[in-house]
């Protein structure tokens, strides 16, 4: 009996320690990989002239699809910002997803819109499109506004994908601010590759809280004044500059942020567009596209651009942050479990052997392991048997590791894009990194556990997932449904 408890004790404690070593090891490995690819990227693009793309008739065509729901306060500036992007052959498709505010009225007035008679194929099923608008003013001839019934972000994106006739689709959160050259920089990698098809590319998302924004443009970059957004600057820097850069190099990237990404339209349509029954539609689409390409034995890549192309506001309160993280957790879980076939499946190469298991163990399981560890420690503390010297030693190492990693991320940012110019901003970031593990991370852990809990008890979510499962039969059914297109007609009666 004693041996049993001792063994259990050893397995739990050593298991957690081994898991932690693996996680830390992976962070260090990813940081090294990222540093190498970042260096290569910066050197490679330091003298590139993107203007050649701007005027070239050989440049690919792009549809910028931006779904909008109750964005009346900022929509006019946001559209103006999208229309002023530097690119030749592109259109901006704003999808009004049944907003309840006065967004539509405002857009119609500001951009002098009128409904057009247009007929196009609904390759992916969506909620009813009420009307399609274009501007009477030629200055806005790149703008298309689709007014449709509310169906959620994924549904709105599908409506945009249906309308688009261009080669690439760039998906943008309408409240995000893109730098003027964003499309040029994002399009270039699609043109460079000859051996493999680039199916998607994602960009860095930077945090716009406290930045000065005028007419949809960032005019002054400032570090967020509030603690919560400021910590997220660190989080995003770690994740984007140190994580995704490395995954892109390894061709194991599973996520292109919904805030800004570019996709090969044909592949998006082949896989049936966004899944409207999920909360994490952006990650699931990438996983499905990758899975599709692997199954078709096509050589492909999902790439990642480290340039700060997209700026967005992040949650400034714990309440909103909690909702976001809870959703992210469920989104991750949906994609991971829906495509569990990939798990350690050599048929899918990097995706199956590295990408999926990494996300499974270190993105999904890590907070759960951490939570188990904390519960276990509380039990032994209550029982009065903790080894306090060893505990404090371990805690110090873990704390210092977390802070050091954040400081490395700050160094990355400093050596690469160097967006925060004031010295006190850097000092603030360094100190924020020291506070993060104590005052921020516990909340993130709670939100993640809550997301897990919601996912497992959420009957509705499970029901929906069952319906769109990824067994072959179910997939075929879904495809058949999608391949049975309806025609969408922009009616002039709905003005």
């Amino acid at each position: 009996m004693i041996e049993f408890f001792r063994t259990l004790q050893y397995i739990i404690e050593n298991g957690i320690i081994i898991f932690t070593i693996f996680i830390f090891g992976s962070y260090v490995a990813l940081a090294i990989f990222s540093a190498l690819s970042m260096l290569q990227y910066i050197r490679k693009n330091s003298y590139i002239d993107y203007k050649v793309l701007l005027s070239s008739p050989l440049a690919p065509s792009i549809s910028v699809v931006a779904p909008a729901y109750n964005e009346g306060k900022t929509i006019i500036d946001n559209i103006r910002s999208l229309l002023s992007l530097h690119y030749n052959d592109f259109e901006v498709i704003i999808v009004n997803d049944g907003s309840k505010d006065d967004s539509m009225k405002k857009i119609i007035k500001a951009y002098d819109l009128e409904p057009i008679d247009v007929l196009y194929e609904q390759k992916v099923a969506t909620k009813t499109v009420k009307a399609v608008y274009k501007s009477k003013n030629k200055a806005f001839n790149k703008l298309v506004v689709i007014d449709k019934e509310n169906g959620g972000k994924a549904d709105a994106l599908n409506a945009g994908v249906n309308f688009s006739q261009k080669e690439y689709i760039s998906v943008v959160d309408v409240d995000s601010v893109l730098v003027e050259d964003a499309l040029l920089i994002m399009a270039k990698p699609f043109l460079e590759e000859t051996e493999r098809k680039i199916i998607a590319s994602g960009g860095v998302i930077r945090i716009a809280n406290s930045c000065k924004i005028e007419e949809g443009r960032i005019t002054e970059v400032k570090l967020p004044k509030k603690f919560i957004p400021r910590v997220q600057v660190l989080e995003y820097t770690r994740s984007f500059l140190m994580g995704r850069m490395a995954w892109s190099k390894l061709n194991g990237l599973l996520l292109v942020s919904g805030a800004f990404g570019m996709f090969n339209r044909e592949i998006v349509l082949k896989v049936g567009g966004y899944n409207t029954n999920l909360v994490g539609e952006d990650m699931e689409l990438i996983v499905r596209m990758r899975r599709y390409m692997s199954e078709q034995k096509e050589k492909y890549r999902v790439i990642y651009i480290p340039d700060p192309l997209c700026w967005t506001e992040v949650p400034a309160t714990l309440k909103v942050l909690g909702r976001q993280r809870d959703r992210w957790t469920r989104g991750n879980m949906e994609s991971l479990f829906m495509h569990f076939k990939l798990f350690f499946n050599p048929k899918y190469k990097t995706l199956g052997l590295l990408g999926h298991p990494y996300w499974f163990f270190f993105e999904w399981l890590a907070p759960i392991m951490e939570f188990i560890g904390i519960i276990y420690f509380i039990i032994i503390a209550v029982l009065g048997i903790p080894n306090w010297p060893f505990f404090f030693l371990l805690l110090s190492v873990i704390y210092l590791f977390a802070v050091t990693l954040s400081h490395y991320a700050i160094l990355f940012e400093e050596l690469s894009f160097h967006r925060y110019n004031r010295k006190r901003e850097v000092i603030k970031m360094l100190f924020t990194a020291m506070l993060e593990p104590i005052f921020y991370h516990p909340f993130i852990l709670i939100f993640s556990i809550r997301g897990n809990f919601k996912y497992f008890i959420g009957e509705k979510t499970w029901g929906t997932m069952d319906r769109v499962g990824f067994s072959d039969d179910e997939q075929d059914d879904k495809e058949k449904e999608n391949n049975n297109p309806e025609i969408v007609k922009g009616s002039s009666q709905v003005a």
Binding site: T7, R43, Q165, T194, P346, I380, I385, L393, L400
Partner: protein, 484 residues
């Protein structure tokens, strides 16, 4: 050995079991081995195991309460400690710390080393970040000042008649020279004629071309590429032979810069390097070469020599250039390529013919449409066999194989838009009627029918009698939007 998913999972389970067994064995052994090698964990007091080890108490003899509720004698009881440890406690702090480290179990030792490393690296990082920030801010300010200074000096040089008296200050150091070259390149790319050649002369007079050539001959790829760009921009032809070696370099970045440099610098046959190109020419390379041709007004008499190239991307490039420069003389040769075995070439050939609006191509385009339809049918047949589903429609093809034939068929109808006469109406009706054709191609076919005046309208009226609702909706839309 074939690695399957089951084998991997089996392997992981085995590793897990071995780890579990190992932990079991280790936990048992802990009770017997000397304390400094004892496994230490978070739930036992630091010296508990040591005490057990010294007393060599077998694990089986310990009551469960002793494991989870250690009694007083398991706590820090110095009388239970080895004598040397006891003695060292009276020594200095450093000696005490050293003694703890020496006698600590392996796991503690490792953690202590990591802890020290992290503390040091955190301090170093802190200092490095702040120093870097300081230096960077200083450097940025300096660069800004230098740029302004150089701009003023160059403007003086360009617009001051007393050319010889201008002395360029501050270009003695490597960084400054590079900033100067960059400024010069920027201005040169925005100037034409006399001003541009004056800048170029200055570039040579100040021996800045030697800096650029040094980069060209550098072993570092990023310097080499930058060097290629500079010599191309400022017309330094000394290294042409050397640069030509890199059009087939394995690094695509060097390749594109070498190609662009040669297009710009070669006096004869600027595209000569295409003859022996080993790698596939990427779209990015094509865009850059085209841009160089346009920007520097380099005239290429004929792209036909590259239509026979073995490298299919070179043929595609030549076809694209024929399209963009509207080389009508190349039509007969392009027509032949409509039946090339490579689909990308067929597609590029159709696109090349479109702006030529040559009616003589219509029979070939019609023939090609038939061929592509056969190819598409073949793909669908294979797909049906593979899926074992006879009911699958053409639109249900899951693979990417059908994309190119579809694209080619669409482009054929698109190319024919301004070329068709009443003779092609029945063919276009056939395309429009087929429900298995994509919506886009049906719509295009109907639009093309409508453009044939006045017979097209009659054909559309005939097609309206069909029962196909989609067809009817498209016809109505075509008529409405065209009338508008």
């Amino acid at each position: 050995m074939i690695i399957t998913r089951n084998k991997i999972i089996l392997f992981l389970v085995t590793v897990f079991l071995i780890a579990g067994g190992g932990s079991f064995a280790q936990s048992t052994a802990n009770a017997y081995i000397p304390y400094k090698y004892v496994e230490i964990n978070i739930s036992k007091s630091f010296y508990d195991f040591a005490s057990e080890a010294i007393r060599k108490v077998p694990a089986t003899d310990i009551d469960i309460l002793h494991v989870f509720f250690p009694t007083r004698n398991f706590e820090l009881d110095l009388s239970q400690m080895p004598s040397e440890t006891h003695g060292e406690l009276k020594q200095s702090l450093w000696q005490r710390a050293r003694s703890i480290y020496i006698h600590a179990p392996l796991k503690v030792k490792v953690l202590l080393v990591i802890l020290v490393y992290l503390i040091v690296s955190l301090f170093v990082l802190f200092v490095v970040i702040l120093i870097n920030r300081q230096l960077k801010t200083k450097k940025r300010r300096r660069i800004k000042e230098l740029k302004q200074e150089f701009q003023e000096q160059i403007a003086d040089f360009l617009f001051n008649d007393d050319v010889d008296t201008i002395e360029f200050k501050g270009i003695n150091d490597k960084m400054n020279r590079q900033i100067f070259i960059d400024e010069l390149r920027f201005l040169h790319s925005n100037l034409y004629g006399e001003a541009a050649s004056k800048l170029r002369d200055m570039y040579f007079n100040l021996d800045l071309h030697k800096d650029s050539l040094k980069k060209v001959y550098s072993k570092r790829w990023y310097l080499k590429s930058k060097g290629f760009k500079e010599v191309a921009q400022l017309d330094v032809k000394d290294a042409n032979d050397y640069i030509s070696r890199f059009v087939n370099d394995k690094n695509p970045i060097i390749r594109v810069e070498a190609q662009v440099a040669l297009v710009k610098l070669s006096d004869e046959n600027p595209l000569g390097f295409l003859d022996n190109l080993k790698y596939t020419l990427s779209d990015w390379e094509m865009i850059n070469i085209y841009d160089t041709l346009i920007y520097h007004q380099i005239n290429i008499d004929s792209f036909e020599p590259w239509l026979d190239n073995q490298n299919h991307s070179v043929v595609v490039f030549a076809l694209r250039m024929i399209m963009l420069f509207k080389h009508v003389n190349a039509i007969p040769k392009v027509k032949q390529l409509l039946f090339h075995e490579h689909p990308e070439i067929r597609l590029a050939a159709i696109k090349a013919l479109k702006p030529m609006e040559s009616e003589e191509c219509v029979p070939e385009l019609l023939q090609l449409f038939k061929d592509e339809t056969y190819r598409l049918s073949d793909i669908i047949r294979q797909h049906k066999e593979k899926e074992k589903n006879e009911k699958l429609r053409r639109k249900d093809v899951r693979s990417l194989d059908d994309l190119l034939p579809r694209k080619i068929r669409y482009e054929i109808i698109d190319a024919m838009q301004n070329l068709v006469s009443e003779n092609e109406l029945s063919f276009l009706s056939y395309v429009a009627k087929d429900p298995d054709n994509s919506f886009a191609i049906r719509m295009l076919a109907l639009k093309t029918i409508f453009s044939v005046y006045p017979q097209g309208n009659g054909t559309l009226n005939e097609l309206m009698k069909e029962e196909d609702a989609t067809l009817k909706a498209i016809i109505t839309n075509v008529k409405q939007t065209s009338e508008l």
